[in-house]
């Protein structure tokens, strides 16, 4: 097909190829199908023969783990949806009915609830991996942007999902977060009323949140597919940050990567099962087992643990509108990183100064998470402000400044040279397990 298809001149006589049947490497029935619907060869090329850098650490298993989380969430969610009632008078009781009377309903609900938490654990490690090894740099900027879009959608979906049991934290969390939109000048109040479908969080709010929770879940799935397609175009980054050159640098996806990822998934599942089966409510808040009551405000309204760093950033700024802007930009600023970090070297392994700042950033994330769960008073306000300042400083100032001034370590020419250096102890790197 020519590249100027859009300017196709119908008066010019040229051969056309509307029939593209053929080209399958398979024979027989499989080949017959594959000639007409080339998904079997696509699967072979992209998932069996696909070449992956051989030096990927277990940090690269998080992508597959996240996929599993998403699928489990959708499957458990589907079944839960068959029993749940999105109405303010019935939601709480219907969730408890699932827990009590539906066969293995307790398992479905606890699994769904904790998979959401584990989804976030995995995604935070996944993002850290990208940050540390410079996976956002050329040519993977678009993947990084798609990833951040997924992260935004995940947060929205998790927030909507948390309102569904209609407990005290559901109700008041929804009230606090939707009220953030009232900070928008002029139309703020109107937006909030429009979101609620009422003049307060109520029955119609819950109903639409349920619909949106479903919609966004499948939205995530769709965008994840883009993320994966883009990955198969640009290929995986690796701890050395050097692109593979020949087969000495790579392994085929199956069975090498699949066996390794499977092992990592099982470890992840073990942790998940331990929490889900022995401390299912540990990551939740007890107040959410109190039915929503618009007349009683909980002493401390706290979001789920995975929102705490951003909640801390929101609260660190005394002005509501600026607080909301800071919170949203704290995530959006991640999207600018490919253009703020100007270093040609991808991997932090060869960037001694940048590496320190990345670890400081991780520490900052946890500190913000901690203060996000504390009341916004006294020393916690100060800590959250310092944390917020570092967060933005890291992206907007440190990233460009360090990338321009830092003296990077000598780089290997290839992945197999990198591996040899590692064996000889020339490189200090992340050792996993």
């Amino acid at each position: 097909m020519s590249s100027n298809d859009s300017n196709f001149n119908q008066n010019e006589i040229k051969p056309v190829h509307t029939n593209k049947v053929g080209g399958s490497p398979f024979k027989g029935v499989v080949g017959w199908i594959d000639n007409r619907l080339p998904i079997i060869r696509m699967f072979k090329y992209e998932y069996l023969d696909f070449q992956v850098p051989k030096n990927l650490s277990y940090l690269w298993s998080l992508g597959g783990i996240l996929m599993i989380c998403l699928i489990f969430l959708i499957v458990t969610g589907l079944v839960l949806g068959m029993h749940y009632k999105p109405s303010s008078s019935e939601a709480f009781v219907s969730v408890e009915k699932i827990m009590r009377d539906v066969n293995y309903g307790w398992l479905l609900r606890y699994a769904h609830m904790n998979f959401a938490s584990f989804f976030f654990i995995a995604v935070y490690i996944h993002i850290f991996r990208g940050l540390y090894y410079g996976s956002y740099k050329e040519p993977r900027q678009l993947m990084w942007l798609i990833g951040i879009t997924i992260f935004f959608l995940m947060m929205a979906t998790a927030f909507l999902g948390y309102t569904l049991p209609w407990g005290q934290m559901s109700y008041w969390g929804a009230t606090v977060i939707t009220n953030l939109f009232s900070a928008v000048p002029l139309v703020g109040k109107a937006i909030v009323t429009w979101l609620w479908g009422d003049y307060s969080v109520g029955d119609s709010t819950l109903n639409r949140f349920y619909v949106l929770h479903w919609l966004l879940a499948f939205g995530i799935l769709g965008i994840v597919i883009f993320h994966v397609i883009a990955l198969h175009i640009v290929g995986s980054n690796n701890p050395s940050g050097v692109e593979p050159i020949d087969t000495r640098d790579t392994v085929s996806f199956a069975p090498f990567t699949t066996s390794k990822d499977l092992f990592a998934m099982l470890i992840f599942l073990l942790a998940f099962v331990l929490i889900t089966m022995y401390a299912p409510n540990y990551l939740g808040h007890p107040d959410n087992y109190i039915p929503a009551d618009p007349l009683i405000t909980p002493a401390h309204i706290v979001p789920e643990w995975y929102f705490l760093p951003f909640y801390a950033i929101l609260r660190s700024i005394p002005d509501k509108l600026l607080g909301v802007i800071a919170m949203v930009s704290s995530i959006a600023v991640l999207g600018l990183l490919p253009w703020l970090d100007l270093s040609k070297v991808r991997s932090a392994v060869f960037r001694p100064i940048w590496k320190q700042f990345v670890f400081l950033f991780v520490l900052d994330f946890f500190i913000l998470m901690y203060v996000g769960g504390m009341p916004a008073e006294g020393i916690y306000v100060l800590i959250s402000r310092v944390g917020t300042i570092y967060w933005f400083l890291f992206f907007l100032v440190i990233a460009p400044l360090v990338s321009l001034t830092e003296k990077t370590l000598p780089m290997p020419n290839s992945i197999h040279e990198y591996e040899n250096w590692k064996k000889q102890g020339k490189i200090k790197t992340l050792k996993i397990f």
Partner: protein, 261 residues
């Protein structure tokens, strides 16, 4: 220690400590009990569940509802294990408002195992009116709805003090409790020595009564706790074996490329 293990340590340290830090007020340390349902193989003590049910019906049920439970639950697996006959007798002792009948009238009839636990008050207003403005919370999921869970409920039951500490002024109908947040509670001390006469001869001390009723309430909050722990253990064992096998497979597969490096 490598960077990553430090990172993971941080991660788990922080994430797993946050839920505990939600309650900001300084609180009295709870009276930690060793419960039969604790741990990997935790099971409810049946006799304690049955006694706890007795305490609930004879004491708590005069003010607290348990809307989410039905009498049939009392004979279900993993619960107090009353026989179905016993449950029929238990249910038949309560009066249930049913209807309307063919004449459009509501009528009272003896309870059936499928009925929900009958509430002591017709509605929240009636409950508040009878309790000095306070609403006795529904106890169906009370253990899950309080930070500290079973230990917290037990501590509140044991935490009444006749004389409040100096400087604390109590209004009429308010009692001092060491463990209640704010230390003020509108529920008078519910349990004391021999408030219930156990038929199985267990001495009805205050500790015993509290322990039994908290065991019952924990079951009410988490009726499938035993199944959860049993299935959890099987799953962990299964996953452990599978993980080891997959690890060996992975190692063997990766040996294929080692010599080329």
């Amino acid at each position: 220690m490598s960077y990553l293990s430090k990172f993971l340590l941080f991660f788990f340290f922080f994430t797993f400590n946050i839920p505990n830090s939600y309650s900001a007020e300084k609180q009295e340390k709870l009276l930690k009990q060793s419960w039969s349902f604790d741990g990997f193989f935790g099971k409810f003590d049946r006799a304690s569940l049955q006694r706890g049910y007795q305490v609930y019906t004879e004491v708590c049920a005069s003010c607290h509802s348990m809307n989410l439970l039905s009498y049939r639950n009392l004979s279900e697996v993993g619960g107090p294990s009353f026989s179905e006959e016993e449950v029929k007798v238990i249910a038949s002792k309560v009066e249930v408002l049913d209807g309307p009948n063919d004449n459009g009238e509501m009528f009272k009839r003896p309870g059936k195992p499928s009925d929900k636990f009958v509430s002591p008050f017709a509605n929240e207003k009636a409950a508040r009116a009878a309790n000095g403005g306070a609403y006795p919370p529904d106890m169906s999921v009370l253990v899950k709805a309080r930070a500290g869970g079973a230990d917290y409920i037990y501590s509140v039951l044991m935490g009444y003090e006749n004389k409040p500490p100096k400087g604390v002024k109590l209004e009429d109908g308010v009692y001092y409790n060491k463990y209640m947040s704010g230390n003020k509670i509108k529920m008078p001390k519910p349990l004391s020595q021999d408030s219930v006469k156990y038929s199985d001869g267990t001495a009805a001390t205050e500790e015993q009564l509290s322990k039994d009723v908290v065991t019952f309430l924990t079951w009410a909050s988490e009726p499938h706790l035993e199944a959860r722990k049993r299935i959890g253990f099987k799953t962990v064992v299964y996953l452990l074996i599978l993980t080891v096998l997959v690890y060996l497979v992975k190692k063997k597969i990766w040996l294929r490329i080692e010599p080329k490096v």
